[in-house]
């Protein structure tokens, strides 16, 4: 196994142990999902104009969001924060590893493990009782899986950049809070992106955040045709690579400062 893959898998196995947190998260997300469904139901009952998604589609969209919430880059890694605060982050450099890919591997594991723990029961419960529908076709299902991988790579890249930002901000939550707010709104987690005004569409389509939620979820529902996956995956991957390049550079500066000033 390569070092980074080994770190990813060890971290993943470790995080799978946090079953109580997953159960609590599942309960909370179920509750919020029901509230969001009710809000949209009220909206659809009172609206008279045509909407960009049907009510059934929105319900499926909401439950996908509740199932995969943990995949979003909504928080920072407390272990890395502790390392930075105590000045021990220099000791990370004792390993014969590139620090960026070390932290990226951690971030991937950190996004996947809780999402896996929560998604499976949510799919079952929401599918049986709350109107989560199956993908419209096998092609849509396949496109969704590919887009999920893209979303994961992108999410881990954003998470890693937020973690790196902790090297400059002492309190830590400043940038992390800002990013998580941007992510939740601009990815389409709160309101699906097709509901945004027309002038916002082109901006939202350009930004990386739609690759996290909007793209995979609409592929699942067939709201985006499965054939679009090539362009959409390229969009996800392009942003991931751009973020990796920027983060690599920023982390390089951070470590240089660290090794010059001694933490």
């Amino acid at each position: 196994m390569t070092p980074y893959w080994a770190i990813l898998s060890a971290r993943f196995r470790m995080l799978l142990q946090y079953r109580a947190a997953a159960a609590a998260g599942f309960g909370t997300q179920l509750f919020w999902g029901l509230i969001r469904v009710m809000i949209f139901e009220a909206f659809y009952r009172s609206t008279t104009s045509a909407q960009p998604m049907s009510y059934q589609e929105v319900v499926t969209y909401i439950w996908l969001g509740q199932a995969l919430l943990a995949l979003l880059p909504w928080n920072y890694d407390r272990d890395i924060h502790a390392l930075v605060r105590s000045g021990n982050v220099a000791y990370e450099l004792l390993r014969p590893l590139d620090l960026y890919w070390h932290w990226y591997a951690r971030a991937v594991a950190w996004r996947v493990a809780p999402a896996v723990l929560r998604a499976l029961p949510m799919f079952i419960v929401a599918g049986l009782f709350f109107g989560l529908q199956a993908p419209v076709s096998w092609a849509s299902f396949g496109a969704w899986l590919i887009a999920l991988v893209g979303a994961l790579l992108l999410s881990a890249a954003i998470t890693t950049l937020v973690n790196i930002s902790l090297m400059w901000t002492i309190a830590g939550d400043g940038i992390a809070t800002l990013v998580s707010t941007l992510v939740i709104i601009l990815s389409g987690m709160v309101v699906p992106l097709p509901f945004f005004p027309d002038w916002a569409q082109s901006i939202l389509n350009f930004l990386p955040f739609r690759g996290l939620v909007d793209v995979p979820f609409r592929l699942y529902m067939g709201h985006l045709p499965p054939g679009d996956i090539y362009g959409l995956f390229a969009h996800q991957l392009g942003w991931t690579l751009a973020l990796v390049a920027v983060s690599h550079h920023v982390l390089g500066r951070g470590t240089r400062r660290l090794v010059v000033q001694g933490g």
Binding site: M1, T2, P3, W5, A6, I7, A10, M14, Q17, N88, A90, Y91, L93, L94, R95, P96, L97, D98, V259, V260, Q261, G262
Partner: protein, 327 residues
């Protein structure tokens, strides 16, 4: 050419000075005052393959800074440093593969993983082949007697057990150079002995070059053939334990166990340092009076149960060396 070369290393840190009180804090927001601390002020030494060097000094002397530079995680302001022909901070990853580092104050193992899984992770991180890993692991497990610890998560280990595991973890990739930073800190007597025995064996049998920083003078006396003393960024002394003694003081101690309690021993050419029950401890200068002559005079005047001559403990020597520099 020595395996480790350190030549005229200088490292200064800028420390922000905070002024007391609310007003001071407010002023600090506008204008920070900085103070420069010289952690290393021209440190030089060379270490040959297979040496076991004690690197000692009081807190803040520059020990850890030196070790960090050697490990490639700190860049000095000036000076030259090479470990196995590499400049550590320029080739950090290649250097990291060739060294092992143990910090007594912190663990390098993964807190939530069983020891054996930490070891497997290290195997992958250092890209050790499975066969070489197994050989190295079994040998270390045997030497450190840690078979029963392998399946225990690290957070459940006692400090002594954890230190044994940390030593093994640092050596799994068979590095030719090992830095030990206070490996016996906080350990009980039995664990300390186990760590010392292991370090000695590693050095003698495997020929691993070891730099040991410690505050425990027993570690130094038990293990090190060579001692480098550092204080305030300067090297005060570099040589064998005997060299160090000879440089600081030639005095020796005569310890006498008297037959009667509270007996009074006095001699014009020796000074009493302590008196405790039957035991009296005197210091004398062998250039002034020979041990035989002194013993002769004391045994003539007192009933003696036992007596022996020894060197002053190394703590005493080091304390005097620091004191000498302060004056």
């Amino acid at each position: 050419m020595p395996q480790i070369v350190v030549d005229d290393l200088v490292k200064t840190f800028r420390v922000a000075e905070r002024q007391p009180g609310l007003w001071g804090a407010a002023r600090g927001l506008l204008k920070r005052r900085h103070r420069t601390v010289e952690a290393l002020a021209g440190v030089s030494f060379g270490i040959e393959t297979g040496e076991l060097v004690g690197y000692i000094g009081p807190n803040g002397a520059g020990k850890s800074t030196t070790v960090k530079v050697l490990a490639g995680i700190l860049v000095p302001d000036s000076g030259r440093c090479e470990v196995l022909g590499r400049v550590p901070w320029r080739e950090r990853v290649a250097n990291a593969r060739e060294i092992g580092v143990v910090f007594g104050q912190r663990t390098q193992l993964w807190w939530d993983l069983p020891v054996i899984e930490s070891f497997e992770l290290l195997r992958d991180i250092y890209r050790v082949s499975p066969q070489a890993h197994l050989r190295s692991r079994d040998e270390l497990v045997d030497m450190l007697d840690m078979e029963p610890l392998l399946d225990v998560p690290v957070r459940q280990l006692s400090l002594g057990q954890r230190m044994r595991c940390d030593l093994a973890a640092a050596l799994l990739h068979s590095p030719p150079v090992l830095y030990l930073d206070e490996p016996t800190i906080g350990l009980d007597a039995v664990s300390k002995l186990a760590v010392r025995d292991f370090v000695r064996q590693l050095n003698r049998e495997r020929g691993v070059t070891i730099i040991l920083t410690t505050h425990d003078m027993d570690d130094i006396e038990a293990l090190c053939t060579r001692i480098i003393v550092i204080n305030e960024g300067h090297i005060l002394s570099d040589g064998t334990l005997n060299d160090l003694r000879a440089r600081v003081t030639t005095e020796r101690w005569l310890i006498v166990d008297l037959a009667e309690e509270d007996g009074d021993v006095a001699d014009p050419q020796a000074t009493v340092i302590s008196r405790e029950g039957h035991r009296v401890c005197l210091r004398f200068d062998p250039d002034e009076v020979s041990a035989a002559e002194l013993i002769g005079r004391i045994t003539a005047g007192h009933a003696i149960r036992d007596l022996f001559v020894e060197n002053p403990p190394i703590e005493e020597i080091i304390a005097r060396l620091y004191g000498e520099q302060c004056r």
